[in-house]
């Protein structure tokens, strides 16, 4: 997988660039597949976990306006990237592995190589780049829908929204949003490499493609979550202004 990553990056920056059309098509493909699961998932997760649980305990303190500050932690720093990664890995990643695995089984990849077409440059690079961009873009959607779930939780507890927005905007920093989006770019890269690798090395007939999808999504999820843990600890520990009391 590391070799595939290196080869992909080299192929992406070295001319010629024959993958423009495929890149646009992959971008739209992932976006069309992911928008619906992402909307539902992130709204449901944010309404349940930080929305109602935190609102329940904050209403005991009579401090429901602090929910906005809490949503910076959950929706922006944590759940936004997390749900985006799960949805992209589960929806787009599995589709990519199934697609590439099918081509491998039908020996299309070998045929491409015989024709002198580099499969890494023409198949992996567009998926890699489009998944990086799409994941960061979907992260913004996830944050927007997550915050609207927070607003819904405030409305369920019959609060005015002024306090929510006030604490939200005083606690949110540019660093939070930037780290969230950059982290998602890296998630997209990890998911693309894992899923392309597993798809291109699929073998073993009927069960092979299914097995490849299975392994790809498990490896992608574990790798992404571990990466998120590392990035979050490093960013939070090295940026004390994120923990200032506001």
């Amino acid at each position: 997988m590391m070799i595939l990553t290196a080869k992909t990056i080299v192929a992406a920056v070295r001319p010629p660039f024959p993958y423009g059309e495929e890149l646009v098509w992959q971008f739209l493909f992932v976006l069309k597949l992911c928008w619906f699961p992402l909307t539902i998932s992130t709204f449901a997760l944010n309404l349940g976990a930080p929305g109602l649980q935190a609102a329940g305990i904050l209403s005991l303190f009579g401090a429901l306006d602090r929910l906005g500050g809490f949503f910076v932690v959950t929706a922006v720093r944590w759940i936004g990237p997390l749900v985006t990664a799960v949805v992209v890995a589960g929806v787009a990643g599995t589709a990519i592995t199934a697609d590439l695995g099918a081509r491998k089984i039908r020996e299309e990849l070998d045929a491409l190589q015989v024709l002198g077409v580099d499969p890494i440059k023409n198949l992996v690079v567009p998926r890699f780049l489009s998944l990086m961009v799409v994941t960061a873009l979907l992260d913004i959607f996830a944050i927007v829908f997550g915050l609207s779930a927070g607003i819904a939780a405030e409305l369920i507890y019959r609060q005015s929204l002024g306090g929510f927005f006030a604490t939200l905007f005083t606690n949110a920093t540019v660093t939070d949003i930037a780290v969230s989006a950059l982290m998602c770019t890296m998630f997209g890269a990890i998911i693309a490499v894992v899923c392309c690798y597993k798809g291109m090395t699929a073998s073993g007939g009927a069960e092979g493609v299914g097995r490849a999808v299975n392994q790809a999504v498990v490896i992608a999820l574990v790798a992404v979550f571990f990466f998120q843990f590392v990035v979050t600890s490093v960013v939070l520990a090295t940026n004390p202004q994120l923990q200032a009391i506001r």
Binding site: E22, A44, L45, G48, V91, A95, G210, T232
Partner: protein, 271 residues
């Protein structure tokens, strides 16, 4: 470069989901009915074998995943509590996060990824190579033998895997809050941590996880059982099952929270 691209529309995902939902509900209620009425116990040995496969094949990966989630709960909670000026109360966040929300979700994700897609790949391969038809010819009811025994196996093994998973997440949160961030002493953390949970919470959390697990196994069995179109069809069915599972896991998580803790946060505060 490649003219034979499958066309995808903006509304394909919701349409596919609505289509599949009714079919899955019918198939799932049939399988659950077989197990609940005791007919599934005709193949109890097969059920035990499936439970064994779950334990030996998936337990470690489930616990590893839950461990990472527990670490994340710990650091997010520790830093959030520092930012509101109450770092010693980090146990509150991680107790709620671990028990009520994150572990059920993490369990659902990794179960959908490992077990759900695994079942689709296995049953789909059987369907493609006509093994399911062969079972029918031999007079063995394939739904009972393949789907019901997997559900039985899941019900035998997964509650225990889930409870151990909660323990693993607790350990991970403890490591993250007390050892990694270190704003609060071990005793102070554990005092708050245990105060803010009770046995009923554990039970509710278990119900949430088990409902997710049941539906994931049923969705996997449905997509594997109805796979068609050669080896490629198996791959597509596996991918589709993951989409449906992700949405269902989140909806069950939200409904569980609303039902169990929606009107009563069950916190030891006030009167």
């Amino acid at each position: 470069m490649n003219p034979e691209r499958p066309t995808v529309g903006w509304l394909d995902a919701p349409r596919e989901w609505l289509d599949a939902f009714g079919e899955i509900a019918r198939f799932g209620s049939r399988v659950a009915g077989i197990v609940l009425t005791g007919r599934g116990f005709r193949f109890f040995g097969e059920g035990l074998r499936q439970a064994g496969i779950l334990i030996f094949g998936s337990a470690l990966i489930i616990w590893a995943f839950v461990f990472i989630i527990g670490l994340q709960c710990g650091i997010q909670g520790a830093y959030f509590n520092r930012s509101v000026g109450a770092p010693s109360l980090a146990g509150l966040f991680s107790s709620y996060c671990d028990l009520r929300e994150a572990v059920p979700y993490a369990f659902g994700y990794i179960l959908a990824a490992k077990v759900g897609t695994g079942i689709v790949a296995e049953l789909g391969a059987m369907r493609i190579s006509d093994e399911i038809d062969a079972l029918e010819v031999m007079g063995i009811e394939p739904v009972t033998f393949l789907a019901a025994s997997r559900l039985l196996g899941a019900w035998i093994a997964l509650p225990f895997l889930y409870l151990v998973g909660i323990g693993v997440a607790y350990l991970a949160s403890y490591i993250a809050v007390v050892q990694q961030v270190g704003d609060v002493s071990s005793g102070g953390y554990l005092l708050i941590f245990w105060k803010f949970q009770s046995p009923p919470d554990l039970f509710f959390s278990l119900i949430k996880g088990m409902v997710m697990a049941t539906i994931i196994v049923l969705v996997g069995c449905y997509y594997g059982y109805t796979a068609s179109g050669g080896p490629i069809g198996v791959g597509t069915a596996t991918a589709k099952s993951m989409v449906v599972n992700i949405i269902i896991v989140h909806i069950i998580g939200m409904l569980g929270t609303v039902v169990f803790w929606g009107s009563n946060p069950r916190a030891p505060i006030g009167g």
